[in-house]
Symmetry: C2
């Protein structure tokens, strides 16, 4: 009985590094890439505002080359938080309004988030998670994990490989929204859950105390930080289909 | 003014890996090695029960060789939680009673904790922290950091390099006890603080949910796990003096 019960549990893991992503892919886990400030939040917002797709690229150069082939696409992203020269949009979710992105493809390159998504691309299911869509992401991921009898790996993409406060707390927010209790949490997941539970009433304030939030605020992006700290305002779950990110809604059926 | 204020702040960092220890040594930080289950707790308890010194060794072999030279020393430690063949004591703090350890030197080798202490040995100040002595450790470390204008690195020695729930929460317990507010916390430290604040009323229960606690309980060490979850029952701060660990009390004067 114990053996059987164990196999029905869904193991959850938290990864911080490139190596952790490789291990998650190898295990065949559902992968949730989290980079709250701001890549994940931007992708969620763009798709919620009816962009057709987001195409992540690793480098600014690759983004430019793709844009030359497809000048009809929006060219967006950041390095050190700032929009590269000649780009249409930066990495501020507030820029990705319905007026600008509806029905459009967006090429996106960011310091950490898009790289983590691309590193995950050999996994069958790669989602993008943020506070903005924590509950929707949790439900979709658990649904698939239970259906396919696989685990869930949450990847904190962070900033330049550093431990990220906002990503860690977001992991807790997502994990708390898993609509089941047959989960086998790793120690890091349990810790993230505790950090979120302690924070939920003051998400805004706590997130603003983090290292990258303070950097962004110093660069004039305070409104972005506030926007990205909102919990469950969107039901969109960005899903990596081949090399492009589309809303999950129905798209798995055609995978 | 801002510049000066910044230099008076004490930067705090949380490290998980061998690399993080090397960086902390290089920065010249006060280092606090934490391995709640059970190495740190055992060292604190042994010294609180009037052992003269604890001598950490990396391998079981080194421990045996040292014991051959000094058969009057107590030979103690574990691998996979279990006492190696021929050892006097395991790694259970409850074994290190005053009757057994008073006035004695103890050779100790454990899977993670003693290794992390030895890796830190080129730092000027290396302490051993646990729940048992969280407040005393915090006070001693901050005192030195302020005096010497250096940072503090808390090292979660974990189990085989894994993220450890109990060590992470213990970091939060120590950080919360720093008797000052001019600290510049890293994101990981802020997260550990949140996790501790959420846990403090149910330390026992939360620690028991961790991976290594469950392993220890399965091996019959439930009482150890409970013992190690007690906050501030000792005022001893173990301090690495050359290659041996002694109580801090006064010993820095002769360093």
């Amino acid at each position: 009985m114990t053996g059987r019960k164990f196999t029905l549990n869904v193991p959850t893991n938290l990864g911080f590094t490139t190596k952790d992503i490789a291990k998650a892919v190898q295990r065949g886990d559902v992968i949730i890439v989290i980079d709250v400030l701001r890549c994940s939040s931007t992708i969620v917002t763009a798709l919620a505002n009816a962009a057709d797709a987001v195409i992540p690229t690793k480098t600014v150069k690759e983004a430019r080359i793709l844009h030359k082939k497809h000048p009809e696409f929006i060219l967006a992203g950041e390095r050190r938080g700032i929009k590269p020269k000649g780009f249409d949009l930066g990495n501020s979710p507030l820029e990705f309004s319905p007026q600008k992105v509806k029905g459009r493809h967006i090429i996106l390159t960011t310091t950490s988030g898009t790289k983590a998504i691309i590193l995950s691309k050999n996994a069958k299911y790669v989602f993008t998670g943020a506070f903005l869509n924590a509950e929707a992401t949790a439900k979709a991921a658990l649904n698939l994990a239970q259906q396919e009898k696989i685990g869930i790996s949450l990847i904190s993409a962070g900033t330049n490989g550093r431990f990220s406060l906002e990503d860690f707390i977001c992991v807790g927010a997502i994990v708390e929204s898993f609509p089941a209790d047959n989960l086998e949490h790793s120690d890091a997941i349990l810790a993230a859950l505790l950090a979120f539970q302690q924070t939920r009433k003051s998400l805004d304030r706590v997130i603003q105390s983090g290292h990258h939030a303070r950097y962004l605020i110093s660069q004039g992006f305070e409104e972005d930080v506030k926007f990205c700290s909102q919990l469950n305002i969107f039901k969109i779950v960005p899903f990596l289909k081949g090399e492009i990110i589309v809303p999950l809604n129905g798209s798995l059926l055609f995978y």
